[in-house]
């Protein structure tokens, strides 16, 4: 629910209730389906935001019930901090009420208009009042309100206020009846909830659809994300006018302290450097900054070496949490692979930091013949509309996915394959294509970061596919050698009632390699691996084998030295990997000391092995 607001002075009041009544499409309430979607979206966004600010792990339940033929009742209940009873009328009954509208930080809610618009739409379409229940931790009782909106005065009217005992510490429930239509699909309330669960793995979400069917997206992360904080502007990307305005409004008496106190990442040293470059005196009064001085400051910002903008203001989901979120939502498709999610370093767009993260879900029951599914987020809010116009979609389309193992016509456009691409862009100020805020504008610095993130997860998919291909080749060879050729020999000799001929020479002809393959067992948090090295060549062979687990800690030797392994003999070694078990997809093996043509199931040890330690796969930045 909308957060508690203490500083009335920060709130602005724009009388637009009446305007909205006549132009409801502007806020997205243009059809019964869209109205339902908007209401669910606004309510759940508010709930999650409120919980986040108070570091509460959200428990949210959403239900949509049929009232009659055309009308639905949407109820969203959370365990958030609750709302001051005195503010309820304004929060739900006054458009453009809320501090969020003017805050300079990353937040979900976008316009401060949403939930009131939903209340108003419900009032217009059904004539009924919204019902709000709320309880704050400090209060002994909860309050229940019936609220409507005075359209001409843009004010909430409380019709009934009752106190009651609520079996919870704190929380808010809002229930709005409206003309609405429940649908499922890519642009539906249900999809919105589902995708919200992906980027909010710390949320426990229950949903009941109009037919009474229940869905549960359980919490997979027990830590609430730290609340995002406001930040000072980062010097790069600021407009000239913005620098001037900051200088003229500063409390600082001197130029140097203005620079160090008003801008992010400007240390004393950096300020000195800037002042030296511009020739502005450190002791001059910033409130008397001239236009040409401001311009030279702007240029100097670009020349000095600044630390990357601070990420505290940003609140990415984080790689491990993205993986968990993707898993808890898409596991019913039994994907065969989740990429290692990528979190790019923060970038800056117009002085505002942003950060891109991406993940991929691949294989399983996902459709092979269809376009890959693109799931877009901004500041943990799913974007379901205007996919084509969005920088994320365009980034996906500009990449040639064929080298990553996907089908794509001529190497452009949305590729085909059993894949879901998830991209989250978070930032204090994200440029959108339009006021509806459903598509990110194609700004070069952001698009570039998205492309880099996608290439990185794309490489992960390619690695997975290569690995799968290599494994299947080795498994085939093993099957040939260990199962089929012996079976042929046995069957032929039984039919002829003769002794089975020795088959080693045949096997040497078929294989003529050293085969390396593993078997593994998983426990709760570790994997025990047995690796078998079989010499199917016709001479004795020696080699060294280096296991490289995909993750976790290797408990075993760094390498295994095999000396004079005679033909048709095998050598086994075992090790375990700690801190990994689910989705273990096999260890990579590297070797030295033998001609690579004689080895299948391992790769030659890269030259930089010792230098790079256990990490071999460098990330190439295109």
């Amino acid at each position: 629910m909308p957060k508690k607001t203490n500083e009335i002075s920060r709130n602005r009041e724009i009388s637009i209730s009446e305007f909205f009544e006549k132009n409801r499409h502007i806020l997205g309430f243009d059809s019964p389906t869209k109205a339902l979607y908007m209401t669910v979206k606004e309510a759940i966004d508010n709930s999650i935001d409120a919980c986040e600010e108070h570091s509460i792990l959200p428990d949210i339940s959403v239900s949509i019930d049929k009232v009659d033929q055309d009308d639905l009742r949407i109820t969203v209940e959370d365990n958030g901090p609750g709302i001051d009873p005195l503010e309820v009328a304004s929060v739900f009954g006054k458009l453009l009420y809320g501090s969020r509208f003017h805050a300079m930080r990353q937040s979900r809610g976008q316009q401060g208009i949403g939930i009131t618009a939903a209340v108003l739409y419900g009032q217009i379409s059904t004539g009924s009042h919204a019902v709000v229940k709320t309880k704050q931790a400090a209060d002994d009782v909860a309050y229940s309100f019936e609220i409507s909106i005075d359209i001409t005065r843009n004010e909430g009217i409380v019709h009934e206020r009752k106190s009651f005992i609520w079996d919870r510490q704190h929380g808010t429930s809002v229930s709005i009846a409206m003309k609405g239509k429940y649908q499922v699909g890519r642009q539906s309330a249900f999809e919105y909830l589902k995708e919200t669960a992906v980027v909010n793995p710390h949320m426990d979400l229950r949903f009941t659809d109009p037919s009474g069917k229940n869905f549960h997206f359980p919490r997979s992360v027990e830590v609430p994300p730290s609340p995002s904080i406001s930040m000072k502007p980062y010097p790069l990307g600021l407009e000239l006018g913005e620098i001037q305005q900051m200088a003229h409004q500063t409390q600082s008496e001197k130029m140097k302290s203005f620079l160090t106190s008003s801008f992010n990442r400007v240390s004393s040293n950096v300020a000195d450097e800037i002042l030296q470059k511009t020739g502005i005196s450190p002791d001059s009064d910033p409130r008397e900054l001239t236009a040409s001085q401001a311009r030279s400051l702007m240029n100097a910002f670009k020349e000095v070496k600044l630390m990357a903008p601070p990420t505290e203001a940003l609140s990415p989901v984080g790689p491990e949490f993205i993986r968990k979120g993707l898993k808890s939502v898409y596991e019913d498709q039994h994907p065969s692979f989740y990429s290692r999610p990528v979190l790019r370093p923060p970038g800056v767009y117009n002085g505002n930091p942003f950060q891109v993260e991406a993940g991929i879900v691949f294989g399983g029951d996902l459709p092979v013949e269809e376009n890959v599914r693109i799931v877009r987020f901004v500041n943990k809010v799913p974007l379901l509309f205007q996919q084509g116009a969005c920088a994320i979609t365009q980034a996906v389309s500009t990449i040639d996915w064929r080298p990553f193992g996907l089908d794509q016509k001529q190497g452009t456009g949305i590729p085909f394959g059993p894949m879901i691409v998830m991209v989250h862009v978070c930032g204090t100020k994200i440029p959108y294509t339009s006021e509806s805020k459903e598509a990110i504008a194609s700004v070069e610095s952001i698009s570039e970061e998205i492309v880099l993130a996608l290439r990185q997860v794309g490489r992960d998919v390619r690695r997975f596919l290569n690995k799968r291909e290599r494994r299947s080749q080795i498994n085939e060879k093993f099957r040939l050698i260990r199962e089929l050729i012996p079976a042929i020999s046995e069957k032929a000799s039984v039919l002829l009632e003769k002794p089975a001929p020795p088959i080693d020479p045949v096997i040497a002809k078929v294989a003529n390699v050293i085969l390396i393959a593993e078997e593994f067992k998983t426990t709760d948090d570790s994997v025990s691996v047995k690796c078998t090295v079989c010499n199917y060549t016709r001479s004795s062979r020696s080699l060294k084998i280096y296991p490289d687990p995909p993750a976790g800690e290797l408990l075993g030797q760094k390498f295994y030295e095999i000396t004079d392994l005679a033909p048709s003999l095998s050598y086994d070694f075992a090790f375990s990997i700690k801190g990994i078990s689910k989705n273990y997809d096999g260890t990579d093996y590297y070797f030295t000391g033998i001609d690579p043509v004689f080895v299948q199931g391992a790769e030659p040890l890269p030259a930089d092995w010792e230098l790079g330690g256990m990490k071999i796969e460098e990330e190439v930045e295109e």
């Binding site: 085939e476 099957r479 040939l480 199962e483 089929l484 050729i485 079976a487 042929i488 020999s489 069957k491 032929a492 000799s493 039984v494 039919l495 002829l496 003769k498 001929p501 088959i503 020479p505 045949v506 002809k509 078929v510």
Partner: protein, 361 residues
Amino acid sequence: MTDTAEVLKEKLIRRIYGYLSEGEVPFLSMPSRNKENIVLDEKYMVWKYGDKSLTRSAKTVDGAEYILKSLYVAGFIDEMLKGKKTSTLREMYYISEGWGPGKFHSQDESDMQAEDLEVLTALLREDFGLRPEENGASIIGDVTIEERNRKGEFKKINCKDDVGDGGYTIPYSVENNKLRLKETGAKLVLAIETGGMFDRLVENGFDERYNCVLVHLKGQPARSTRRLLKRMNEELKLPVYVFTDGDPWSFRIFASVAYGAIKTAHISDYLAVPTAEFIGITASDILSYDLPTDVLTDKDVQALNAELKDPRFQTEFWKNEIGTMLGMNKKAEQQALAKYGLDYVTDKYLPDKLFSPGDMM
């Protein structure tokens, strides 16, 4: 006949065993069984497999599985021969469930393998005791045969007087040890594609009126049906005429009767009747009899185009027929002749076609 079990050992099992004992990777080679590898056998005037061959080696998983499966099939046949049993191809497919890595994944695969064994051994499926699922088609007309029944006695049957309206059902094996052709008063054999037309001719008494043997092909004819046509043609000296629908699939039915089928080209000289003649429905019939038609489907057009590349259809007659059909983009069923009444086919169409010289292909 040579001992089937011995031939299987010689041509397959000992070969594989021999390779293994010599330290060689086992392999099997045989003619490729496709359209690209059939050639006209000038001696018999039927189409048989050419020189292109396909080798399957145990170097690959597919090749090794194939060799293992052929050994299992050979073993299964050996067992059946010892126990004097036969099985359907479908039963063999299900039995293969217990063959571990030698198990078949579809019945098409196991049917194919049985045919491959025929090619490899120059024996017949019937020799292996393997028979198709469906029972044979039926014949009606003045021909007397002797069929060996389950008691091992040969029983005489006249296919006109000793059968009902359904006719005599052709058994799956029509070799001399099972079926003997004794005598006939008929002058020709008329092979008919569809059951509806077969029944029409029977009801109208066409066989008696024109002294012929009617054979129901039941679509693409089974081996035993084709073999019986061949024997009636060779042993009773009866000319064979084929009467089908007028569409690309019927052209193929005629081709398999007269020229040999691609899948069974290894035994074309044993199954095909090179002197068989096509009566219709021809593409020109559709025009000259103004028959009710259907538009060709995409698949029909594909089939006609494939036939244009099929070596068996490279004659003036067939190039014309296929070209005409593609040109008018229409096909017709044999029963479309009912447009002119139920008796038209027996009173007019067939007599004109069969007995007016100069109107035949």
